[in-house]
């Protein structure tokens, strides 16, 4: 098990994930081998992706 202190970036990602979990019910991803934190689920919205797909311009 790795007990080293988190870097600022890692700590920020963990804080963001915890906040999103508490406020928006977003899942937190866990490494299945050692249960360490590996990130958060960043869901995309239907509108965001459908709009992008349907507006792909013609390519030449």
């Amino acid at each position: 098990m790795d007990f080293r202190p988190l870097t600022d970036t890692e700590r920020q990602r963990l804080i963001d994930a915890l906040r999103n979990n508490a406020q928006n019910n977003r899942a937190i991803l866990m490494d299945q081998r050692d249960t360490s934190f590996i990130g958060a689920v960043e869901e995309v919205t239907d509108e965001e992706v459908i709009s992008a797909i349907k507006s792909v311009p013609c390519h030449y």
Binding site: D8, R11, Q12, I15, D16, R19, N20, Q23, N24, V41, E42, E43, V44, D46, E48, V49, I50, S51, A52, I53, K54, S55, V56, P57, C58, H59, Y60
Partner: protein, 328 residues
Amino acid sequence: MLRGFLTTASHWLYGLHQALDRERAPAPALLPPAGSRAYRRLQRVVLAREVADTLFEDFAEHRASPRGEEEVGWILLGVREESEVRVRAALPAGADRDAGVAHVHFNSVAQAVAWRILRQADRRLAMVGVVHTHPGSLRHPSNGDFRGDSLWVGQLRGGEGAFGIGTADAKPVNGQAYADHVQTRDTLCFSWYALGDGDERYRRLPVTIADGPDVARSLRDVWTTIERYARPLDALCEQLAKVNFEVAQDGQVLLVRFGLAGSDHTIRVLLRQDEARFFLDQGGTLVAIDPEERQLDRAIYLILAELARPPQEAEASQERAVELVNAG
């Protein structure tokens, strides 16, 4: 004396605990508003190995097809990380694409339906880029590409996208490696670029491969069916909340389920290229339905309307149907 010592020790431990808590607590500067993920400029595009295979295999297959002289392309789905995109799926332009020797416009409605199917398993899948091919050896996006992409790319996460150009001009380079933004396989070549919102030009984007599947491969066997029913399926997904997809029967059938409000019953539709069969699933008991309507979305609405009848009216309707059968 012992009590005094314990009290002092307790206070000291409490103070130490508080100090450690303060040390562990993040600084206020580390607590920005939720959801404000910071994206930096793209440093690289990471393709799942099977996505890279898809691109090369599709390109080779396309060149050998009757439409091989035309341009072709794919959209890329994946996850935007802080400074890279990880591509997990490549969706084809589709047989119903509008293409010629100098342009390609994808069947985007079919691609949208495909994304709806894939997102059931991964709700992070976003649009991250576009790949298309060029005839000859123009390994760079054209001016026409820039005009469209520069207006479009701002809506992607981070305001930036990955763009690949496929050409069939790869040659041995006497043992020297190609540049890190170029992939080759036999004579085929993909060159990668990034473009951000407000950029004046594309810039070369290093490409790397990571082990992993193309999560859209499972849709290839039913792609013709997806294209055949794309518009009504897309419209139904826009209109109804409980729509669920499954590729069934070893990739031969696209199964679409429409959940009914207030029960666990569903309308099941089995879609093949030239056939749509409707069933009412009443908790495991399947009842075949013939809506007598060829247009898929209208058929679903007719079935929903029938199921929404008040019970007495539905029974009367059934009795009248029996009378008509007996009279006939």
